[in-house]
């Protein structure tokens, strides 16, 4: 298997725009995943009876094959970026919801108790005490969801989207390995860089965890 370097040189603009589109699809999915998971996790954390139901539901959604999700969505949102993002978002929920609930669970009862006893109201306690302390566990979920989404975007090639995934179909159809290899390498690079950026973000957001005495 040889790589046609001149093909890469001829297609740098295409590769850049595919990479950007790929990243955009994954990040949008993680963003909406968080937006949906946060309130659901707060509910699951506070209302015990709903906890099993919500976590179970996210598990069930995760077991639906990805292609099936896209097919099911076609009548609603058609062959669009929206379909891609909705599909990916559904998959991020299982990780984000579970980690956010676990993150909230990990906040020591004593600390929440102290916040209440100082006269902090529940919403402020959630925003200024519980979520910051849950952040490391939530961020662990965000990292997994991000890497998972980046690898899943390619599946959306079946509905005409798919970012770097388009390189795979292109390569297969023409029996031309270069785009496939380039697609794989760029996907991995994207995942590694995104993960490293998230680690850096967490470092910035949790100054109290830096200097362990």
């Amino acid at each position: 298997m040889t790589i046609d370097w001149s093909w890469i040189g001829d297609h740098t603009d295409d590769l850049a725009s595919l990479t950007l589109s790929h990243l955009q699809a994954a990040m949008t999915a993680v963003f909406f995943g968080l937006l949906i998971s946060l309130p659901l996790a707060v509910v699951a954390h506070r209302v015990r009876p709903l906890r099993g139901f919500l976590l179970g539901l996210s598990n069930v959604l995760f077991t639906i094959p990805s292609i099936a999700i896209f097919v099911l969505l076609l009548p609603i949102s058609g062959l669009t970026r929206t379909t891609t993002v909705i599909g990916l978002t559904v998959y991020t929920l299982v990780v984000l919801l579970r980690n956010t609930v676990e993150g909230l669970d990990s906040v020591p009862a004593k600390t929440k108790e102290a916040a209440k006893a100082m006269g902090t109201r529940p919403l402020r306690t959630l925003l200024t005490v519980e979520l910051p302390l849950a952040l490391p566990v939530i961020m662990a979920g965000v990292r997994i969801a991000t890497v998972m989404s980046i690898s899943l975007v390619s599946v959306a090639t079946y509905i005409g989207d798919g970012g770097l995934g388009q390189l795979f179909t292109d390569g297969f159809q023409r029996d031309f390995p270069t785009p496939v290899i380039v697609g794989v390498v760029l996907t991995i690079l994207l995942a590694v860089v995104a993960d490293a950026l998230l680690v850096a973000l967490q470092y910035v957001l949790t100054p109290w965890r830096r200097r362990r005495a």
Binding site: E113, A114, A117, G119, L133, W208
Partner: protein, 345 residues
């Protein structure tokens, strides 16, 4: 002043935590609630700032019924210190202390300035302010907990076994600091502990609870030690309660005479007149001089430990003023004890 009037607390599982409690906690005084675990002392404390709601009865803080006030606002007006401090691990020491001022709407600069001032009040170095709680020792964290409770200068301070998790030496230091602070600040303090010695040391009044949430006796420490209401209280105070009573009396009234010359033991002084040691023909033994403010218990202890049976007395500068005999101390201790009984009766 904090008033409990016929307060009852039953938890949903059916256990009665506090039974028909009527109690007054005087303004500017330290009321210590003691009892074994499950006696309702912590529940009683937590009902004052509505961390627990009473089933029936009323609780008033400075004349106002607590259940008629907004719970969060009430809590901001009452300082609260808990065991192992309960500090916010993600906030610096300074921001931990500034918690309540910020909730009250102070701007950040003013709240931090106040927090820095309190660091000094509780005996912490200024550079501790930038650290996170996990970078401090247990005793230091507890000081931050006290500073946080004092930040908005609340008239009432609730302390739930605040020194329970630190070692005995640090605990004694923290108790001393609290007594010193209280002299300056004159807060109305409610203090929960299961340690009788701590209660005797800190309390202006001690309320003893029995399992099932019954208040058995509430009295000043001397009265409690001299005249326990029943066998339960007597047992709880322990077999050495007579000695504990002596820890509340000072040595000041015990007569003293000149140091002996030419006996078996001579008290050797330095040029400034400060006692150095007891000396005999064969050996030298240490001396532990006492000041007028030291307790009769310390004097009794030293009279036994001293080889001559004499206790060296010194002034504030450590210069010898005289000695007191074992007999005088013993007689005085007995008199102090019976006097406490008579006063109590």
């Amino acid at each position: 002043m904090i008033q409990f009037d016929a307060v009852h607390k039953r938890f949903p599982n059916g256990t009665t935590a506090v039974h028909d409690l009527s109690l007054e906690m005087p303004e500017g005084g330290v009321t210590v609630l003691v009892g074994s675990s499950g006696c309702g002392k912590t529940t009683t404390l937590r009902m004052i700032n509505r961390m627990v709601e009473p089933t029936s009865g009323t609780i008033k803080v400075n004349g106002k019924d607590v259940t008629q006030q907004d719970a969060a606002e009430l809590r901001r007006s009452i300082g609260y210190v808990i065991q192992q401090a309960g500090l916010f691990p993600h906030r610096t020491v300074l921001d931990n202390i500034a918690t309540v001022p910020l909730l009250l709407g102070w701007n950040r600069k003013r709240a931090r300035a106040r927090a820095a001032e309190l660091l000094e009040t509780v005996g912490l170095a200024a550079d501790a302010g930038k650290r996170y709680p996990h970078q401090l020792s247990g005793g230091q964290q507890q000081r931050v907990g006290v500073a946080r409770a004092l930040a908005a200068d609340p008239p009432v301070l609730l302390m739930d076994e605040p020194f329970g998790a630190v070692d005995p030496v640090v605990r004694t230091q923290l108790q001393d600091e609290l007594l010193r602070l209280q002299k300056e600040l004159n807060k109305t303090i409610v203090f929960v502990t299961h340690d009788v010695d701590e209660a005797v040391r800190l309390g202006d009044r001690i309320a003893i609870f029995r399992t099932g949430g019954h208040l058995v006796q509430c009295a000043p420490p001397a009265e409690l030690l001299a005249r326990p209401a029943d066998d339960f209280v007597a047992d709880f105070l322990g077999a050495e309660r007579g000695l504990k009573l002596l820890s509340l009396q000072t040595l000041a009234a015990v007569p003293q005479g000149p140091a002996p010359r030419g006996g078996d033991w001579t008290l050797v002084l330095d040029p400034a007149g400060k006692p150095l040691h007891w000396s005999s023909k064969e050996t030298e033994l240490p001396v532990r001089p006492l000041k007028d403010g030291d307790s009769l218990l310390a004097a009794l202890n030293e009279s036994i430990a001293s080889p001559s049976g004499l206790v060296a007395r010194v002034d504030a500068d450590g210069v010898l003023t005289g000695v007191s005999s074992r007999d005088d101390i013993h007689v005085h201790a007995g008199q102090a004890h019976s006097a406490a009984r008579v006063v109590a009766a």
